[in-house]
Structure formats: structure tokens, C-alpha cells
């Protein structure tokens, strides 16, 4: 079949006489973490029609909004007790709304997720000023995720992850590139809404060139027209001078609207069942 010029993607790629233990073969470093890839051209991985990667996000790191053309399933191998992620479904409303005026970025450090609860004292003057400017936000659902969770992401859905904890977050992911929902070729393709990858991509030869975010490819004037902003701000969206990669350190507090965490989860008491009731609070 090869002699007849059958395209590589149509050749029989499953030679399963010998199997190997496979290690990650490529590491792409970012400012606040790294992504390790297994060679998706390895015969066994090629046969399975998948691509596998391991994402490591340092504490306070933000994995910037990204989507894929294939379905993705992930497992949280190691990490803080809780971290935040959001998978944006197109057309869905922004159901998480910040009713409090937001604090400026220059205020405070390390306030993670307790938005509207902490760090507000002594800053009322500036808050009032910002409140007059209408600094409130609304966005799609932000979820608390933890060690042991499986995460499923549909093709084309943008998602981001923020490590709220005090230890690195490790997530192993599988991209099903042979799934019929992926209508491109059998190469894993990452579409970045923000950030970039100056080192170039993984695996396939077409991915070896530096990767920019999607907005980078548009004429800044067209982008400015669509967003109804000035051209200079549109150019900022293109991250042309940004070498931080796709995982970045969050500067200042990360104040997204999130529901409070259940106390029992916070203290991990659920892991240690208690004996007979001993206090008025117990039933």
C-alpha cells in the first residue's frame, strides 16, 4: 500500500508485536509550569489514535484559555486540595456574577478566591472610587476541582485552570484525536485564546514553529473593529512581545466570583469519620 502512495494517515499503523513502556519525550516550559508530551507519532500511540500530555502548574499559576479540535479527558494526579477551572460552553449565559466592586490589581498579594470576603478592610476609599466606575464582572461557571477528579472537555470548548493551592498541580490528559468529532488530521492541535509558545509545538513537523495565540493572526484593525476598542489595545491582545508561554503567574489577587467551599471539604473532615456525637452541633 505504501508503494501505491497511500497517505500515511491511511496506512495500517498498528504493529503490536512488541509493546514498550513509554516516557514523555518533550517538555515545553512556561513561566509558571510546563507541559510534557508523549510522542504521538510513536507506533503504539499512533495506533491508539490518541495524544497524551502531562500538565504541571505551579502554585499561583494560570493555564491560559485553550481549546482543542478533539475530545479530551483528564485526571488530577497530584495537587492542592482544591483548584479552580472553567470550561466555557458556547452560548451559555454568564451565571457567575460579581456584585462587589473589584479591588485594583495593585492591592494585596496572595488573596486567592475568597473574593468579596477578604482583603477589603482599609481599602474602602479606593473601592468606592472603583465602584463608581462600575467594576463588576460576570462570567461563566467556575468550578472547584480537586485531586482525583476526572475532567471531560468537548471539542472547541475553551477552558482555563488556576492553581489556588500551595503545591504544584499535575494533570494527565488524553486527547482522542481519532474521535469522529475531530475532523482534522491525526495531529493534536492546540488552539490558544491567549498566551503563546515561543519554543514551538509538539510532535508533528508542522507544529515545530513558534505558536502564537489565535488573535495574533488577525489584522489588529479588524480586531479593534470587532471588539470596538482602539488598535493599540487590540495589539496587546496578540501577545506579540510576551514570552511567558501558556502557563503564567497571576499578579496580585485572583478575584473571580466563586461560590464558597463547603466547610467539610475545606477541613477534610470527611476523610476522618467521627465517633459518637459529642457536641451540640452534632446530630
Amino acid at each position: 500500500r505504501q508503494s501505491l502512495g497511500v497517505p500515511p494517515q491511511l496506512r495500517n499503523e498498528c504493529n503490536l508485536d512488541n509493546l514498550d513502556v513509554l516516557q514523555a519525550t518533550e517538555t515545553i516550559k512556561s513561566e509558571a509550569g510546563q507541559i510534557e508530551y508523549w510522542d504521538h507519532n510513536h507506533p503504539q500511540i499512533r495506533c491508539a489514535g490518541v495524544s497524551v500530555s502531562r500538565l504541571v502548574i505551579e502554585q499561583g499559576g494560570l493555564y491560559l484559555p485553550t481549546f482543542f479540535s478533539s475530545p479530551k479527558i483528564s485526571y488530577v494526579v497530584q495537587g492542592p486540595y482544591l483548584f479552580s477551572q472553567s470550561i466555557n460552553f458556547i452560548g451559555c449565559a454568564e451565571t457567575f456574577m460579581d456584585s462587589q466592586p473589584m479591588q485594583g490589581q495593585q492591592q494585596g498579594q496572595g488573596q486567592q478566591g475568597q473574593q468579596g470576603q477578604q482583603g477589603q478592610q482599609g481599602q474602602q476609599g479606593q473601592q468606592q472610587q472603583q465602584g463608581q466606575q462600575g467594576f463588576s464582572d460576570m462570567h461563566q461557571k467556575v468550578e472547584h476541582v480537586r485531586h482525583g477528579d476526572v475532567i471531560a472537555i468537548t471539542p472547541g470548548s475553551t477552558h482555563w485552570i488556576y492553581n489556588t493551592g500551595d503545591q504544584p498541580l499535575v494533570i494527565i490528559s488524553l486527547l482522542d484525536i481519532s474521535n469522529n468529532q475531530n475532523q482534522l488530521d491525526r495531529n493534536p492541535r492546540v488552539f490558544r485564546l491567549a498566551g503563546n509558545n515561543p519554543q514551538g509545538g509538539f510532535g508533528g513537523p508542522q507544529q515545530q514553529q513558534p505558536q502564537q495565540n489565535m488573535l495574533n493572526g488577525f489584522d489588529p484593525q479588524v480586531l479593534a473593529q470587532a471588539l470596538k476598542i482602539d488598535v493599540r489595545l487590540a495589539q496587546k491582545l496578540q501577545n506579540k512581545q510576551d514570552n511567558r508561554g501558556n502557563i503564567v503567574h497571576v499578579r496580585g489577587p485572583f478575584q473571580v466570583a466563586r461560590p464558597p467551599i463547603r466547610q467539610s471539604y475545606e477541613s477534610e473532615k470527611w476523610r476522618h469519620p467521627r465517633g459518637p456525637p459529642q457536641s451540640p452541633q452534632d446530630n
Binding site: 471539542p155 468529532q181 513558534p210 489565535m214 493572526g217 471588539l227 488598535v231 489595545l233
Partner: protein, 189 residues
């Protein structure tokens, strides 16, 4: 049972009728889609279609196909189309006119700027093809918290707020005139 089901299946649906439009703005244009929900036979052939008619000075906001490839064929008029690949590189920036065709792969972002009452028909390789807009009221950018935008693009909260909330439309918007752009550039300089 075939006589009552398969044999009598409806095989056509008109998407040129303005009254059937899914997106309609009197001064900008309209967009109409047909998919497996509006024409069930498409579930068998696993294809769908979109008809668009936009007037001069209108723009289809940047978007991408989530689960399909798209073949766009111009039936009338002229437009500038830009397509961006997964590396963030512009892979097409050309004028498209009547009789010409553009292939837009899954996930690739694109924007259409009408220059002369642009009309097109798009075929999509999925019976339930879905788009995701990058800009506008239901867009990916709008769904993100301001804090994600400020850290991602290294911009201020006020700038992030303008990016999220300035465009209220979902599909079609006015493209500013060249004169307005020139004024903006002078003000910026």
C-alpha cells in the same frame, strides 16, 4: 414502516426566505442555518448548511467551527476574509467574490468583512455544526473572568472590561469606516 418514515422524509428546506432568518439585523444582514433539528434527513448525511447575506460595511464577528469543517461559497458580492490557524498564523487574507470558495478547517478562526453586499452559502461537515464566537455577547472572551483577561494579556482591569463588554452583538456588527479608523489612529498618535 418505511413508507411512513423514511420514504416520506422531507428532503429540502428553504433558507433564502428572510422570514426564516435565525439572525436578523435590518441594516446589517441575516444568517440562516439548516441542521438536523430543522431538516432531520441531515442526521443521516451528517451535513448541514448556513446561508448568509450581509450588507456593505457589515462584519461577521470572529468565530470558529467547534465540530465541523466549513466550505464557504460566495454567491454574490465581495468580502475580505481572514483565517487564522492553530499556530496563530494568518493562513488566508483575501478578497472573495462570486463563484469563489474558501475552506475553513475545524477550529480555525475567521472573520468576514463585507465590501459589497456579500452573500454566501456554507456547507458544514456535521449535522449539528456548532460555532463559537471569539468576540461578542456570547463569545469565549466574554465568558472569561476579568482577572483571567488581565493576566493573560497583561492589561488593566479597565482595558479588560472594554474587551469584554464593548461589543454587545453576537453575530453581525458594523465595521467602522476607513475615515473613522483614520481619526482613531490620529487620536492615538
Amino acid at each position: 414502516g418505511l413508507e411512513e418514515t423514511i420514504c416520506s422524509m422531507r428532503t429540502h428546506e428553504n433558507i433564502d426566505d428572510p422570514a426564516r432568518a435565525d439572525v436578523y439585523k435590518p441594516n446589517l444582514g441575516r444568517v440562516t442555518s439548516v441542521n438536523s433539528l430543522t431538516l432531520p434527513i441531515l442526521q443521516f448525511v451528517r451535513l448541514s448548511a448556513t446561508r448568509g447575506i450581509i450588507q456593505g460595511n457589515a462584519m461577521v464577528l470572529p468565530k470558529y467551527n467547534m465540530n465541523a469543517n466549513e466550505i464557504l461559497y460566495c454567491t454574490r458580492g465581495q468580502a475580505r476574509i481572514q483565517v487564522v490557524n492553530d499556530n496563530g498564523q494568518n493562513v488566508l487574507d483575501q478578497q472573495v467574490q462570486k463563484g469563489q470558495l474558501v475552506v475553513i478547517p475545524q477550529g480555525f478562526a475567521y472573520v468576514v468583512q463585507s465590501q459589497n453586499n456579500f452573500e454566501w452559502i456554507s456547507f458544514k461537515t456535521n449535522a449539528d455544526a456548532m460555532i463559537s464566537t471569539l468576540v461578542g455577547r456570547t463569545s469565549a472572551l466574554r465568558a472569561l473572568p476579568l482577572e483571567v483577561l488581565t493576566n493573560a494579556y497583561q492589561i488593566s482591569l479597565e482595558e479588560a472590561r472594554r474587551i469584554k463588554f464593548n461589543t454587545l452583538e453576537t453575530t453581525l456588527t458594523h465595521a467602522r469606516s476607513g475615515q473613522q479608523q483614520l481619526i482613531d489612529q490620529i487620536v492615538e498618535a
